[in-house]
């Protein structure tokens, strides 16, 4: 069996089945770790809670909404200003967070009155905002407040407002993944079908499982708009509340993060007959294939092909500049969930790096199945890793860089492994063609940092040359590069702007004439 038991976990043997090494010539059935099981207490796992999965991951990226957590103040505070999901309405959802501030007397006597007052106060403070999501927390779940009833009552009292209720207390499930599921289902049950949108195109999609980290959504929306496709809603990054109430009117659900949002796609397929198409905005090939797939669904392949050609011509020489320099570098791909399979193969193909390990904090076995099938043979796959296992893995595998979260990144730094933020990115957006080059550039700058080079030296023991005033990334990365590559007139470093979204915001989109009567035809598919 290819199971891998970490030395540090020998005393908790149940961990053995949570890590596997992808053996040479072995099939996937030999190498699938257990996943999405209860966490071992005291193991210093990296998992979060179901409240954060619902509120922090999926709920809060909705941009024109008052996000109110019904509970003590901590849940709200702790999940505020720790992510990079921006929005085109001046980041309202990033800047403002709301807590009912439940205190001891509310625990004893109930907090429903408190909730009502909070709702009124919040709308009064922000009269231009008419939508609200209320998140249950551990405390409000355990005292049994009927949040749904309060929301109904308030909506009757204040007819111009609309409230969505998400009952996903922190203890609901082994990780944040439980919360993803709950908020998906709650949204489709409560809100989809309650708003009639204006349809402006013959081709209408919901873009699902996309959270607009550093502008990813805006990058992808740009492609769709250039193809004349109407993005009716985005679930949920940069998405508007009413747009998402109208999800039932789309012709197609285009699904990005299948880990966190496949549930709503599946429900929309069952309830409204809207097909689901899984896509991938990371990497030239997967993105090109994705744009083509979406276009093919609508019969507008020529529009996709034009974009792919233009973007590839513009950015491919820059991606390849980095690929030449990153070839063979070892990567630990340690994200939260879906990025392990979004990235596992494509970073190898397009950036030339070797994935020596994948892990997932909250992924299920399905994510591992996809991730392991796409990563290199010999790679170590870990489910629900903990602090000591992560360190042991890094010390054994000696990666050149690690893609993980902010705090584990600090651990990596200390054992002198450069890190990139896999959840929130370094200099994103990383989706789109230009974004993928930005990712490659971040990887390059992480690995070939002269400061990093210095951190590998021990001044008391090592021979340190005294004739070097400085080094640069180029001096470090180009040592073993062939003259042909070094002097290539085709390849070039990234030439985009610090803010990649600027150009997108200024773009004028082509108008495509509409065909009449097509809408009905398509929605009947």
């Amino acid at each position: 069996m290819p199971y891998h038991l970490f030395k540090c976990s020998e005393c908790i043997p149940e961990r053995e089945k949570h890590a596997v090494i992808k053996g040479y010539g072995e099939t996937l059935t030999d190498a699938l770790p257990l996943g999405y099981l209860n966490t071992i207490p005291g193991s210093i796992s990296e998992r979060g809670c179901a409240y954060c999965g619902a509120k922090h991951v999926i709920g809060t990226p909705m941009k024109d909404v008052i996000h109110l957590s019904h509970g003590p103040v901590g849940c709200t505070y702790d999940t505020w200003q720790t992510k990079r999901y921006i929005s085109d309405n001046d980041n309202f959802q990033l800047k403002y967070t709301f807590a009912t501030d439940m205190k001891e007397q509310h625990i004893v006597f109930g907090a429903e009155k408190l909730l009502k007052k909070n709702i009124k106060e919040a709308f009064k403070a922000f009269p231009e905002i008419k939508r609200m999501t209320i998140y249950q927390t551990c405390a409000s779940a355990l005292i049994g407040d009927d949040i749904n009833a309060i929301a109904e009552e308030m909506m009757e009292e204040m007819p111009d407002i609309d409230i969505f209720v998400c009952n996903s207390p922190g203890f609901g499930g082994p990780s944040q993944s439980g919360g993803h599921h709950k908020i998906n289902i709650a949204w489709v049950n409560q809100k989809v079908g309650t708003f009639e949108p204006e349809i402006t195109s013959d081709y209408v999609i919901n873009y699902v499982g996309e959270y607009n980290i550093q502008g990813d959504q805006e990058v992808m929306q740009d492609f769709f708009k250039r193809m004349g496709i109407q993005v009716l809603s985005t679930f949920t990054g940069n998405g508007s509340y009413d747009g998402l109430r109208a999800m039932h009117k789309a012709h197609l659900n285009v699904l990005e993060c299948a880990r966190s949002a496949e549930y709503i796609c599946n429900e929309l397929r069952v309830r409204y007959g809207i097909p689901r198409l899984d896509i991938d905005g990371f990497g030239f090939e997967p993105l090109s294939a994705s744009l083509r797939k979406v276009a093919m669904f609508f019969g507008i392949e020529d529009r996709a092909d034009a974009i792919i050609k233009e973007e590839t011509q513009r950015w491919k020489p820059e991606l390849d500049w980095y690929k030449e320099r990153l070839k063979g570098k070892k990567v630990c791909l340690w994200p939260g969930g879906s990025k392990l399979w979004h990235w596992a193969n494509v970073i190898h193909e397009e950036m030339g790096v070797e994935v020596v390990s994948v892990y997932t904090k909250f992924g299920h076995q399905g994510d591992m199945e996809k991730g392991i099938s796409r990563c290199e043979e010999g790679a170590l796959a870990i489910d629900d890793p903990n602090e000591l296992e992560g360190i042991e893995a890094m010390e054994t595998l000696k990666p050149d860089i690690i893609f993980t979260g902010k705090r584990p990144g600090e651990v990596a730094k200390k054992i002198r492994v450069p890190y990139l933020n896999a959840h929130a990115y370094h200099n994103g957006p990383w989706k789109g063609f230009e974004g993928w080059v930005r990712f490659a550039r971040d990887v390059y700058n992480g690995i070939f940092s002269p400061i990093h080079e210095l951190s590998l030296l021990d001044i008391s023991k090592d021979e340190i040359p005294t004739d070097k005033g400085f080094l640069t990334q180029h001096l470090l990365s180009d040592v073993n590069l062939s003259e042909e590559v070094k002097n290539s007139t085709v390849l070039r470093e990234y030439t985009g702007d610090y803010d990649a979204l600027k150009r997108i915001k200024e773009r004028k989109y082509p108008e495509f004439p509409r065909k009449s009567g097509l809408e009905g035809e398509l929605s009947a598919v």
Binding site: G74, G170, E410
Partner: protein
């Protein structure tokens, strides 16, 4: 009366100033050597607090969770603590101190964390870990009571209560620093060292600013030892520099072991540092040396350069931990500035009778508002809708969008600060801290003058 002290009128919180109690307990526990707390609750109560610490310190700290899941919430989850303690002890051979930190969920379901500690002491620790020094300390910190500040105060008291043990009286003092940065601890230790005073420092967090070493060192941790904590019972006095962040422990040591409690001052600003040193001199009998006269002089020299020319009459809003906010306001007054709005982020009823606040009420000659149980909307709403004009904001990073949104210069101070580099290294206490802080205020103001072309030529010569 010019100083208006009131409670926020709204019920709810829009943009909180504080997080909840368990965070404060966790912050205290990472200050102790060989201590890894187990937070009894959902995983988010730990994961996010660890993230918060790493946002501020750019370091990782070890804290564990009992990982409360649905079954535990229904049937009780004490078995998760039992398993958690065992797993932690097996895998972290250095761990000696394990606070069991409750949260709102496990307090509501009524899990008996004291009982489970007794059970573990009598069972697991005796049988499996005989001969190993392990201290399990139940700490009740429901999130629906108090705030991270009271959580910290409570935790310091619980640790001291657990460990303090009467022995031979010493010449040492207990120094309870309150919720400060590594740079502050270094500065406080410097003051003690030049005074020739030895101390049990609660908590030794200098090492939170940990180096990147050739051999690797994966986590940062505090250095206060079990012996330091035990020895607190034998000190000459306890200095609780921040009344609300360590005052309870000082009170306990006085009541239980007759160790005199000295409350405050938070040594922010020249005057507060003077008071601290004079109190120290009185208690220890050690004279204030010439070197501190000089240090004080250097600070005064620097502060004088910026005070009446630039800082005078500047209106300031300050928010954050109560002792910090109050003493910053006092320092601002010495620098001729006008703190017009102080925001204290929880509902502690003691603020009203705080002698420093009473002094504001009695002596101020311009209008100052102090809001208790405040949130950051109290500040923003006044600026956006109430016509409040201020020249400077002082507070932690969670309020950064007020500064960004309304183009108001802001000095980052307190916890957490994550949008400026290395602030945890810069002291704000002592003479040196006063000087650095005054200069930071001035430089922030100067940069703002330049960005806004607001009389910036005056900076050519001063």
């Amino acid at each position: 009366m010019y100083c208006d002290v009131k409670v926020k009128e709204r019920t709810g919180i829009i943009n909180p100033i504080f997080t909840c109690q368990p965070c404060g307990v966790q912050f205290a526990s990472i200050g102790i050597k060989d201590c890894i707390g187990i937070v009894h609750g959902g995983q988010g109560c730990v994961m996010f607090v660890r993230l918060l610490f790493s946002q501020h310190f750019k370091e990782s700290f070890e804290l564990a969770s009992s990982s409360l899941h649905e079954d535990g919430a229904i049937f009780g989850a004490l078995n998760r603590i039992e398993e958690g303690v065992d797993v932690l002890l097996m895998r972290y051979p250095k761990a000696k101190v394990i606070p069991i930190i409750s949260t709102c969920s496990t307090e509501v379901i009524g899990d008996d964390i004291d009982g489970v500690v007794r059970k573990l002491n009598a069972g697991l620790l005796k049988e499996k870990y005989a001969g190993r020094e392990v201290h399990l300390i139940p700490i009740h910190s429901p999130s629906f009571v108090g705030s991270m500040v009271t959580g910290y105060d409570l935790a310091v008291k619980e640790f001291v209560t657990y460990f303090a043990k009467k022995g031979t009286p010493t010449e040492k003092i207990n120094l309870i620093t309150g919720w400060v940065n590594p740079g502050d601890v270094t500065e406080l230790k410097h003051l003690l060292s030049v005074m020739g005073v030895e101390a049990n420092v609660l908590f030794e967090t200098e090492a939170f600013d940990s180096p990147l070493m050739p051999a690797g060192n994966h986590v940062s941790h505090g250095d206060t030892t079990i012996e330091d904590l035990m020895d607190t019972a034998n000190a000459k006095a306890t200095f609780a520099l921040n009344i609300y962040e360590g005052g309870k422990a000082a009170e306990y040591l006085e009541d239980e072991f007759n160790v005199p409690a000295i409350y405050g001052p938070t040594p922010i600003g020249i005057r507060n540092t003077d008071t601290f040193l004079k109190k120290l001199e009185r208690i220890t009998g050690k004279p204030i040396p010439e070197s501190l006269v000089r240090e004080r002089g250097i600070a005064l020299d620097a502060i004088t350069d910026v005070t009446h020319m630039f800082l005078a009459d500047k209106k300031v809003a300050i928010y954050g931990n109560p002792d910090l906010v109050i003493s910053l306001a006092e320092f601002c007054l010495d620098m001729e500035m006008k703190p017009v709005l102080l925001l204290l982020g929880d509902d502690n009823s003691k603020y009203k009778s705080d002698p420093r606040i009473i002094e504001f009420q009695e002596k101020l000659d311009y209008k100052m508002e102090i809001i208790m149980n405040a949130d950051l909307w109290e500040l923003e709403d006044r600026i956006k809708n109430g016509g409040l004009e201020i020249d400077l904001i002082m507070g932690h990073s969670k309020g950064r969008y007020i500064a960004v949104g309304y183009n108001i210069p802001m000095v980052r101070v307190g916890f957490p600060v994550y949008d400026r580099a290395g602030m945890y290294r810069h002291p704000i206490v002592g003479y040196r801290g006063a000087m650095l802080l005054a200069e930071q205020i001035a430089n922030t103001w100067f940069a703002d003058m330049e960005y806004k072309h607001n009389r910036e030529p005056v900076l050519n010569v001063w």
